[in-house]
């Protein structure tokens, strides 16, 4: 059916039939409200928003922990925190920033934005999506709660054995780490599968892979990396869990095990992890650059290949965290070369961005400002990265504050600045209101200054020999001044983030109304209302270029999909490469079962801290709830 006569967009129609049809579609896709309704929504916009908000709450909490550490290090021989408290706070800060903030925040943005960008009405497995969120919420809260109960893990975020063995870490701390991290990784894996399948199969007709927006490519690479990196940390923490719970000997030297096995398994996950956070951030940066220069990206293919390249190479770098563990020279040389190689695709990205911005009339709104901060900070972190990739240099600064400075430059520069940019950029889409530009500028300025004031002195502290993870130092070392600078900087940094928090809360209620497409961007998330309609697109779009919205504006016409039913949740499934229409998928509506399953799984995992029998209990409980979840609902025959 190719309709030659132009009809008006459903959202612009004022006749009764048009309005009624829109209302019917919106009712079909609506999420329930009220207290019980909170446990039921499955729409990706609802789940994505929850992921983002929850991860930022964990970000704030972990940030407060960082301030506590900085206060403790303000003067030599400070006794604000006991050594054990300091270790717990440090461990929870690192673990939470990585596992409870950075990954879920990226997942959240991906879950919220990617389906909109590809013109889908929801994700492929909406209920699994909800399940993943509850798992993350329960696991993350239980992990954080351990700190308030004074039984938090204290062996650092990478939890090295033998320090984390039963012998040296008695109590439940490390058990909480192993079980809750495994549990939260389950949530990350569900998100990864979900995102891959959604991007592969639910794209708008015509959006062949070579028309996929760069951000969606980034999400795809991130998801594949999760798929192959997370199992490694799951296996490692399961082994450590068993070592502590049922006396297996995986990491016990006397029993034929090897502590180094932990380091290999952990870093085989841990290094790709850094890029799991970075790659979607690169996607955010590219998206924002395109919008704020108002021109198509330079070197689309090169950018995509660079991201895929980063994803692949990142699996061959893990040993550079282990240069001081007595590896053979050949191994160290290989990984040194591989580590330096990552600079090549990263460089390609930077050149493509420069070429895109070259001669363009750049609009310097807050998102673009954060992108510029990202350039400065991330490139500085990349430079120290090339330094520590080299074996002789690394062996000098290993386990010193130089490394602390390096990875904060890379992680905050590579993930937090782009996330802040993304927050200011997509906030109008998510809430329908703009954030204040003036507060945004001040926030960006304070964050940039505060960040550099906090972490730049740490390079020097590291070169002067200050080891990382120490809870205090003696005055004779002469580290006091630089530490005071860092502590002062950390409060400026916190003030900067505080401004954004105030800005966000204020703007939700009294920000300027945004409209559909306030930045005049070209990707599809801006082709629906702000906040998006329940169905995302009452008439899903059809694509024939990289810059759909700009093209439609020129033609004053938009090709759409017709023939989807209004009375159930239907979305179009397309082929993998060319996105030709293939079938119609009927998606499930609101349901409480994902929540019930997540609670069952939580009982199993939290029980594992105390007794191995909860493995059996957990499996059976989860199976029972899954059966109820998937059991065909009557009357199924009418379909």
């Amino acid at each position: 059916m190719t309709d030659a006569t132009p009809a008006l967009d459903l959202r612009e129609r004022t006749d009764d039939e048009g309005r009624e049809r829109l209302a019917r579609i919106e009712r079909t896709w609506a999420s329930p409200t009220g207290f019980l309704g909170w446990f039921m929504p499955v729409n990706h916009t609802a789940i994505g928003r929850r992921f983002i908000v929850t991860s930022f709450v964990f970000f704030l909490l972990s940030g407060v922990l960082a301030l506590a550490m900085r206060l403790q290090l303000l003067v030599p021989l400070n006794d604000l925190l006991t050594p054990d408290q300091y270790n717990q706070i440090m461990t929870v800060h690192g673990t939470a920033m990585m596992f409870l903030f950075a990954i879920p925040a990226m997942e959240g943005v991906a879950i919220y934005v990617a389906p909109l960008m590809i013109g889908a009405r929801d994700m492929a497995f909406p209920r699994l999506n909800a399940f993943g969120y509850y798992v993350y919420l329960i696991g993350g809260s239980a992990f954080f709660l351990s700190l308030f109960l004074g039984m938090a893990p204290a062996a650092g975020w990478f939890n090295y054995v033998p320090l984390s063995n039963k012998e040296f870490a008695p109590g439940y701390g490390v058990d909480i780490w192993t079980t809750m991290i495994t549990f939260i990784e389950v949530s990350a894996l569900t998100a990864a599968v979900e995102l891959i399948v959604t991007i592969f199969k639910l794209r708008a007709p015509g959006m062949s892979l070579n028309r996929l927006p760069i951000f969606v490519w980034a999400v795809l690479v991130m998801s594949f990396m999760m798929l192959f990196a997370m199992p490694s940390v799951i296996v490692a923490s399961a082994m450590l869990m068993m070592d502590r719970l049922v006396d297996t000997q995986f990491f016990v030297t006397e029993g034929g095990g090897s502590p180094l096995l932990w380091q290999h398994l952990f870093w085989f996950f841990g290094h790709p992890e850094v890029y799991i956070i970075l790659v979607p951030a690169l996607g955010i940066v590219t998206t924002i650059i395109v919008t704020f220069t108002q021109r198509p990206v330079f070197g689309y293919t090169a950018l995509v290949l660079a991201m895929v390249g980063i994803g692949m190479v990142s699996f061959g770098l893990w040993v550079h965290h282990m240069y001081t563990t007595g590896l053979p020279l050949m191994g160290r040389s290989f990984f040194m070369a591989a580590s330096s190689m990552i600079a090549i695709p990263s460089g390609v990205q930077v050149y493509c961005w420069i070429a895109t911005m070259w001669g363009a009339k750049i609009r310097f709104a807050t998102p673009m400002l954060f992108v510029l901060c990202f350039f400065a900070v991330f490139i500085a972190g990349g430079l120290t990265g090339v330094m520590v990739a080299s074996v002789p240099f690394d062996r000098q600064v290993h386990d010193s504050y130089f490394v602390v400075a390096h990875f904060h430059y890379v992680l905050v520069g590579g993930a937090v600045f782009p996330l802040m940019a993304g927050l200011y950029y997509w906030f109008p889409k998510m809430t329908g209101r703009m954030m204040s530009e003036r507060l945004g500028w001040w926030s960006a300025l304070l964050i940039f200054l505060g960040f550099n004031l906090t972490f730049f002195p740490m390079h020097q502290l590291g070169l002067e020999g200050m080891p990382r993870r120490v809870y205090t130092y003696v005055p004779e070392m002469g580290w006091q001044f630089l530490n005071q600078l860092a502590t002062a900087g950390s409060f400026v940094l916190a003030a900067g983030f505080g401004l954004t928090l105030i800005n966000a809360i204020r703007s939700v209620f009294c920000g300027e109304v945004a409209g559909d497409n306030p930045w005049n961007a070209t990707t599809l998330e801006w082709a629906t209302a702000s906040p998006p309609l329940n169905s995302n697109f009452p008439q899903p779009p059809v694509i024939d270029s990289h810059t759909p919205i700009w093209d439609w504006q020129q033609d004053d016409e938009r090709p759409v999909v017709g023939g989807l039913r209004d009375d159930r949740r239907e979305t179009l499934v397309t082929t993998l490469l060319d996105a030709r229409p293939a079938m119609v998928q009927v998606l499930p509506g609101p349901t409480p079962w994902p929540f019930v399953s997540a609670v069952a799984a939580s009982v199993g995992f939290i029980g594992l801290i105390f007794s191995p029998w909860f493995y059996v209990v957990g499996i059976l409980a989860v199976f029972a709830t899954f059966v109820l979840w998937f059991w065909p609902r009557h009357p199924y025959r009418e379909e």
């Binding site: 132009p6 009809a7 967009d9 459903l10 029993g255 290999h264 004053d556 229409p581």
Partner: protein, 201 residues
């Protein structure tokens, strides 16, 4: 802005197993579990190459009889799954029901063989890292057989109740895919756990 309908969704079916996202989703789950197995086997080799003797002195490699029986039973149960799927495609509900039930029965036999084998292992999990690896990998695969049996049991209940039709048999298709994986992944496990110690020593 004007719209022009250029794609008509009502021309397309709402069931097509090879385009259905769930089929791809199960493939994703299989990829994750394959990565877990690969990590476990790599760890096995890592520890084996670090140890002066693997298995440790005085410990015999596990008996070959029971694992070999499992190695034969799992493909047999896969064949009945395949046969059940053929029946389902042709709309023969009885063949589907008999096939999946037979698979559950054969896999339960494999589970019995697996259980007997646990009792005959020459080493405990807490004696040596070798024992830890052996018990963990065996236990991991055991859990998989259990979950495949449980899942397929539900499918067979639905099959006997006549729920599946050629247009509505996605549950069978994805269950079969997972079943094949559980059967296939035993081959590398079998070779590593039961033959590598014999070759190494």
């Amino acid at each position: 802005m004007h719209v022009r309908v250029t794609v008509d969704a009502s021309e397309h079916p709402s069931y097509d197993p090879h385009h259905h996202p769930l089929w791809w989703g199960v493939l994703g789950a299989v990829a994750i579990e394959a990565a877990v197995v690969a990590t476990l086997l790599t760890s096995y080799f890592y520890l084996a190459l670090q140890s002066p003797a693997w298995p440790p002195e005085g410990v015999d490699p596990p008996d070959l009889l029971w694992p070999t029986i499992v190695l034969c039973l799992l493909p047999a149960s896969s064949w009945t799954m395949w046969w059940a799927g053929k029946g389902s495609d042709a709309g023969r509900k009885r063949q589907l029901a008999i096939g999946v039930t037979a698979s559950v029965a054969i896999a339960s036999l494999a589970l019995v063989a697996r259980s007997v084998q646990f009792t005959e292992l020459d080493i405990r999990w807490d004696d040596h890292a070798y024992g830890s690896m052996l018990w963990t990998i065996t236990g991991f695969h055991y859990t998989h057989i259990v979950s495949a049996i449980l899942g397929t049991a539900v499918v067979s209940v639905l099959a006997w109740r006549g729920y599946f039709t050629p247009e509505r048999q996605l549950g069978v298709v994805v269950d079969t895919l997972y079943w094949y994986f559980v059967a296939a992944v035993f081959l590398p496990i079998y070779l590593v756990l039961y033959w590598v110690p014999r070759v190494l020593s």
